[in-house]
Amino acid sequence: MKKGCALFLLLVLMVSLLSGCHGSRGAQAFVIPESFDTSKTYEITFWAKNDTNKTQTNIYEKAIRDFEALYPNIHVNMRLYTDYGKIYNDVITNIATQTTPNVCITYPDHIATYMTGDNVIVPLDELFADAKYGLDGAELQFDGPSLGEMVPEFLEECAFNGDGIHYAVPYMRSTEAMYINQDYVEQLGYELPDVLTWDFVWEVADKAAEKNQDGTYKLNGQNVMIPFIYKSTDNMMIQMLKQLDAGYSTPEGEVLIFNDETRSILETVAEHVRTGAFSTFKISSYPANFLNAGQCVFAVDSTAGSTWMGSEAPLSDIAPDKYVQFKTAVRPVPQFDPEHPQMISQGPSICIFNKHDPQEVLASWLFTQYLLTNDVQNAYAGTEGYVPVTLKAQQSEEYQAYLNDPAQYDVKLAATQLLMAHTQDTFVTPVFNGSTSLRDAAGQLIESTAKSVRRNETVDDAYFEKLYKDTQSLYRLDQLQSQQSRTDGSDLGRLPSTAVALLVTLVVVWVLIGLYTLYEQIRKKRAKKP
């Protein structure tokens, strides 16, 4: 009896020691089932993002209906969002309660944070290659793309963890474009080049900011004129740094942004805020509202926002009587070296959350792949200046006809073709846990500088030093730095007392187990002696 008790105690101790520490870990790693079980019903949740665009919502709904018709045992419940940040916050909350969606449209930066939990996100490479259910797999009920039919640059963006493994698939891609009131540029005596330099933009913008004696602007005769307005100042800073080959971050997450080139960019921004040539979305409003009202020369916004841009824009927030007629030109974002343009690649990707039932994960993967079919890709890309992420869709007859359809809004098509022509000139920033904060900080540097100039604060060396320090602290980039240095194996300092206590307890328990086992063996030997 004593022996039984001791053995039981030992087992309990071992189990608690060996597995107790792992109690907080995520689900088991996903293993692809041999075959998809069609005898059971699977409910999967899909958190989708639309650009407050009803057509996009309709396309998701149709995709779900069509998919469910092919797989009657899979039911997809969609939850719609209009904001990536909200999706991110909800996912983080739901990871803790193990109620994440099955399939989620999101950004790689966000996925990097989701991945701080074990096996939360399903790695996709084995699924890509699976002969039955992989990309272009033999048992798929639809005609999806093969691996070779994915646009390589866009797919590569989803292998962001430094391990070469894909944790997402791209869904749609866009970049930023400069939407230009060409009439104004020419009115100011300039000819519009194919690729604009930053110097050109600043020069024209300064000229456009000149006023009459009565306070109206010479260029438009109105009381309002923002010659150059930028929607995403995060992207503005990131692209300028990239074009200058200046530091932003390392792939591992070391923050490099607080450098001299950044300061030089901020000084330029300050100079042109001072002349009234430059403002931002956060400070003023949507670039389209100014551009379409003839109150702007250069407006930078996403190609995925192209249906809002221009004097014939099908979507608008301003009153019809505020529209001004002008020729809208679409160009890449300004460059430092126009011979070698560089622009950001952005747009939603899709990740799959791991679940205890591998069949449920497989169902999620089937639906994810369905979103890559030509039907979905072509339809969704057509809602805005998005580009399909598969060559299969891009090269399809349907898509080619769309690109040449005179009934389509010409600014949207120009924005789409801009990205297709420059896919090889796109880049993405490194993704790591904390990269979202760094991106926010990049934009905040511009926003803060612009606001300070508008508020007549002194913007000098001391200002920038303080700005760097405050931004580092606000976005906890100093903590990112220290996390990074830990991964480099540098000195971690003394262990916390709780950790020391835990380690000591573990050692003591194991010593006691050892002593007890030894004691039992000696006792047995003695008992066997005649």
Binding site: T82, S285, N289, A319, R454
Partner: protein, 247 residues
Amino acid sequence: MKKVLAIMLILVLALSATACSGKKSSEDPTKKSEGVMTYAEYDAAALDSEVVIETYVQAKQGWWEDNGQGKATLYTQDGDGAYFIYNAYISEEDYNKLGEGQKIKVTGYKAEWSGEVEVAEGATIEIEDGKWVAEAVDITDKLGTDELIKYQNQKVVVKGATVEAKEDGAAFWYNWDNSGVQGDDIYFDVTANMGTYTFTLESYLTGSDTDVYKAAEALEAGKTIDVEGYLYWYEGPQPHVTKITVK
């Protein structure tokens, strides 16, 4: 004994009534402390200039945390005009102290975003003693006139408005283009004073669990309603609705 008790009760009641009315009447919502702008001074202040105001919270959008910084957006008003306080910096503890009518001192910068004049993001708030709740001003006959902008951000009411059908016949949409779902902002159109205007239920102000949100979901085209809310501006008037009364 009973008589004494009754007299005491009456006295207590009378005293408390006096106290209440005294508090109400003692609060002058136009009076300002030293160093604080009057509404007229705020109104005249240039954009991007620093402003210091005393005002009374009429309604608030939810508190949230952004990179560790607590933020909240407030609809506030004094006896002369209204102030929209956008994403002021405030702790959750202080935010919870901001009941209807709570007096606050706000220090920040004046800004304009798509026509909406506001105290820009990052203003600081001090909670002061005092309470005052604004009465809704009837702006029905101001709709469509140049005078309307004077009421920007104030608590207003539009009376006898007719609910107009959206393009698809619905009385309201979730999101401006019907791309949303329950819980998102609600948009509905009304005709009043010979013009049609879009009113909004801002979900951060009046979420799907509020009576007014449910009332909006029950709207029918052609019905006559009174609508109360705050005269928010986005490229034109776009009131944030807090009360709907179907006639």
